[in-house]
């Protein structure tokens, strides 16, 4: 029984590692300027976690195999170095490992969250609500008009509660159902929730941020590859949560210019 169990541990450990080594379900492709640091951090962590995982499981299996059937007359033996050696090893090996991961990981985190957006970053507002995202571009005046919560109306397609009659800044705002952006242009995404908590997650963009009702947040990023990517909500927001999505459409500058003109004409 002990030997069967030991073999099962070994087989499970190897089988668990194969999909990772073979990249069967890899991270989605990276289309951001900052994603490389995150991916490198992930790869380093996978290497260290993988070695720890395999070494520990193999050792466990070996000890179960070897010591479950003691040789006749065999006495209890102590592990060389005893507890002090193991504690020292834990502090030195794991301590060094986590310190390194912590320091380098902080750099990757800072590249996303602790750097301000460039002055010429293109502002786009995203509003999350049960169960759709809407996007707003400031138009030629470069300024967003104010949101009037009492005027938000799904029925009248006034998703942001804009008062285009009285607010000058709102008149040229462009509201869309997809997030189209020019490639290689930094975007400053201003996040607003109209009801409950939601989240903005585009795996390819290496950006993940919750919407906090009552607290407007922002993220900034630069997409480097033209294409269409899914924006998904990852914060449980109600019965339609699984279906709350939109598209990030990364276009060439020319295509984007054409698109935004078309959208302006539709307002």
């Amino acid at each position: 029984m002990a030997k069967i169990f030991a073999v099962i541990i070994i087989l499970i450990a190897i089988a668990s590692a194969v999909p990772i080594v073979m990249h069967m379900w890899p991270l989605p492709q990276d289309i951001s300027t900052h994603g490389q640091l995150i991916d490198e951090q992930y790869a380093d962590t996978m290497l260290e976690a993988g070695i720890s995982f395999l070494a520990s499981q193999f050792l466990l299996a070996f000890f179960i195999w070897r010591f479950s059937v003691p040789k006749p007359g065999e006495k209890i033996k102590s592990f060389p170095g005893g507890a002090a050696g193991l504690v020292a090893a834990a502090f030195l090996l794991v301590g060094t490992e986590v310190l390194a991961l912590g320091v380098f990981g902080s750099k990757a985190w800072a590249s996303v969250y602790l750097t301000p957006p460039a002055a010429n970053a293109m502002p786009v507002q995203i509003q999350a609500g049960q169960f759709a995202f809407y996007f707003r571009y400031p138009g030629p005046d470069g300024t967003f008009g104010p949101i009037h919560p009492e005027q938000i109306s799904e029925a009248n397609a006034n998703f942001f509660g804009l008062d285009t009659t009285h607010d000058q800044d709102s008149k040229d705002d462009i509201v869309t159902a997809e997030l189209a952006i020019p490639v290689n242009k930094e975007i400053h995404l201003l996040m607003h929730s109209k009801d409950v908590s939601h989240s903005f997650f585009v795996p390819e963009l290496r950006i993940h941020q919750d919407f906090v009702p009552g607290l407007d947040l922002s993220v900034h990023f630069t997409a480097t590859k033209i294409g269409r990517y899914e924006i998904v909500c990852t914060q449980l927001c109600g019965l339609g949560h699984y279906n709350m999505k939109a598209y990030l459409n990364v276009k060439s500058q020319e295509d984007y210019d054409t698109w935004i003109k078309q959208q302006a004409a539709l307002q």
């Binding site: 541990i9 466990l60 000890f63 209890i76 902080s106 009552g214 990852t234 019965l239 699984y242």
Partner: protein, 593 residues
């Protein structure tokens, strides 16, 4: 050390059925009641998980009889999207609170902590009885939410505000369902606070003669450390739940800010904070992970030592490591909130202690592995589950490396990677601890042995099955599979559906193994071979009393302790174990540390 046990608790054996088996103040009966509650809750939680898994694999599959649970939630026996979330919320809540907290801590702790410390009972037996019945009431309130209004809450076991605080406009179950949920958890908290109070005082004040703190077995230490965590963590969650109830019934806005719009209507709330709930919840929530797992560390160590026929390499290091885990658990809760909108600098402040927590965890694993080396390992159902616990603890632990880092959390937050991580480390590992404790202590609790063959079949099926379920969760998460979705309609998620089907089959297979366990439990209780007082040749106090123990635990003579808890394979001794109560002189320079 105090010797209060002889006079602190004086209550004679009850004679009426009600006082003996229902409203009992006997810690052993209360321990069994907690175990029965955990078992019932686990069965409910497991059936809910089967329904969820079948739905995720084959969304249109009609599960016979499901409409009986809710005709609106499962018309034609197929789950609606909202009812999936409602069942998911109940699964998480039931499992975390009423199984993973109740069984390893409240059930085994109640039964064995007083015995292992050499006490007649706990110092506040009526509080102890109240602890169980309040917890039981909490469970009834939670289950009742299936049958009120539009069913239980759908907000997940974390109940993030403001969805949980705005009432029925938020969706099905978000009105009365949330009030029932929060009431249930508040009751649960009261029960655990009363229990923790008893555990702490039992450990500190009720030890018998000769039982110094360092002579307590590792399981007793684990329950003591857990009770300290329980006293502080549940004391935060309970008021949070009360504030949440007030947001529903008293028109307050603790967790709801101004100007929220639902159905084109501005909600009549103002001035609350949505992040306040997250801070309060996770200040409880992360220690809760350790409340679920630290008893397992103690139980597994205790079971392994008996079956290795040797003490751990260091008794003290294991105790200090468990205490370090408990202390650090309060400094790391923000890692659940890296992308929540809190200040990104605080993410770094929470990340470092989270990474540091791997050090005491690693020490525990290395002490276990180092102690296995050169041992005389006995293989039985209890030791197999204890060894399986180690494997699961390692697997669930290494994935913590990823989630401790905010930069990687950007990719893995709220994905199946997180689900895989916490299911392995606090779900499966904790369950394996419960099973190890059950197979090990069942003889003492009932007077009968469990069937070993069935136990080993249960173990092998559970071990393989659990890995087949939860390891693929990690792959799904890496590929970006978001959790808490009832269907996968996104383009990039559709190719992952076959993996979900595989997981569903594995979940049903693993569930089958649990039915074998339940059968073994009932069969052995009724017809198992009679157990001797010390069937495993153990050394701690539970093995020096009768099986099952008498009402006051030790009969006419209270025990006197002469040794450290784990005197196995001592050179020159008369046998390969020396009980704590044995006055046999031991020549052992490492004793009496």
């Amino acid at each position: 050390m105090h010797d209060m046990s002889a006079h602190a608790v004086q209550h004679g054996a009850p004679t009426s059925f009600i006082r003996k088996h229902v409203f009992s103040t006997d810690h052993k009966v209360i321990g069994k009641q907690y175990y029965a509650l955990a078992l019932a809750a686990a069965l409910v939680g497991m059936v809910l998980s089967w329904i969820m898994r079948i739905h995720l694999g084959w969304g249109s599959f009609a599960i016979p009889g499901l409409h009986l649970l809710s005709s609106t939630g499962a018309p034609g026996n197929v789950l609606t999207p909202e009812y999936y979330l409602q069942l998911m919320t109940m699964h998480g809540t039931i499992m975390v609170f009423f199984v993973l907290t109740t069984a390893p801590f409240a059930a085994f702790g109640n039964f064995f902590l007083p015995i292992q410390t050499g006490a007649e009972d706990m110092p506040f037996p009526h509080f102890n009885m109240m602890s169980f019945w309040v917890t039981f009431a909490g469970f009834l309130v939670l289950v009742a939410s299936f049958f009120v209004g539009d069913g239980p809450t759908l907000g997940g076991w974390t109940q993030y505000a403001p969805l949980s605080a705005i009432g029925s406009v938020g969706g099905p179950g978000e009105g009365m369902g949330v009030v029932f949920w929060a009431s249930s958890i508040a009751l649960f908290c009261i029960g655990q606070l009363l229990g923790s109070l008893n555990f702490i005082t039992t450990t500190l004040d009720m030890r018998c003669k000769g039982m110094s703190l360092m002579r307590l077995p590792l399981s007793a230490w684990a329950w003591f450390i857990t009770s300290v965590m329980g006293l502080t963590a549940f004391a935060v969650l309970m008021p949070a739940c009360i504030l949440l109830i007030l947001d529903h019934v008293a028109g307050t806005s603790f967790f709801v800010p101004s100007n929220l719009v639902i159905n084109d209507q501005v909600l009549p709330h103002s001035g609350g904070s949505t992040l306040l709930w997250q801070h309060l919840f996770w200040f409880f929530g992360h220690p809760e992970v350790y409340i679920a797992i630290v008893p397992g560390l103690g139980i597994v160590s205790h079971v392994l030592i008996t079956n290795m026929r040797r003490p751990m390499l260091s008794h003290r290091v294991l105790i200090y490591s468990m205490a370090a885990l408990a202390a650090l658990s309060y400094m790391v809760y923000g890692h659940h909130m890296f992308v929540s909108g809190m200040n990104p600098v605080s993410a770094l402040a929470f990340s470092f202690p989270t990474l540091v927590i791997t050090i005491p965890s690693t020490i525990v694993v290395l002490i276990w592995l180092g102690s296995l080396y050169g041992s005389k390992l006995r293989i039985n159902s209890a030791s197999l589950f204890a060894l399986g616990f180690i494997s699961m603890f390692i697997s669930g632990g290494v994935s913590g490396f990823f989630l401790a880092q905010p930069s990687i959390d950007i990719m893995l937050h709220a994905t199946y990677f997180v689900v895989g991580h916490f299911h392995l480390v606090m779900g499966v590992a904790a369950m394996f601890g419960i099973f190890a404790g059950t197979y090990f202590w069942f003889p003492k609790m009932t007077g009968r042995m469990m069937n070993e063959t069935l136990g080993k079949v249960h173990f092998i099926m559970s071990f393989i099955g659990a890995y087949c379920i939860f390891m693929p969760f990690h792959y799904l998460g890496i590929a970006g599979n978001v959790r808490r979705y009832q269907a996968f309609t996104d383009d990039y998620l559709i190719p992952l559906i076959p993996v979900h089907k595989f997981i569903t089959i594995a979940a049903l297979f693993t569930g089958l193994a649990q039915l074998i366990f339940v059968y073994n439990l009932i069969y052995s209780r009724l017809k198992g071979a009679p157990a001797t007082d010390n069937p495993w040749q153990g050394t701690s106090l539970e093995w020096s009393t009768a099986t099952p123990p008498p009402h006051n635990n030790f009969g006419d003579t209270m025990p006197v302790v002469y040794h450290d808890p784990y005197q196995y394979s001592v050179e020159g001794a008369s046998s390969d174990f020396i009980m704590q109560t044995s006055p046999e002189k031991v020549i052992n320079p490492k004793e009496e540390k």
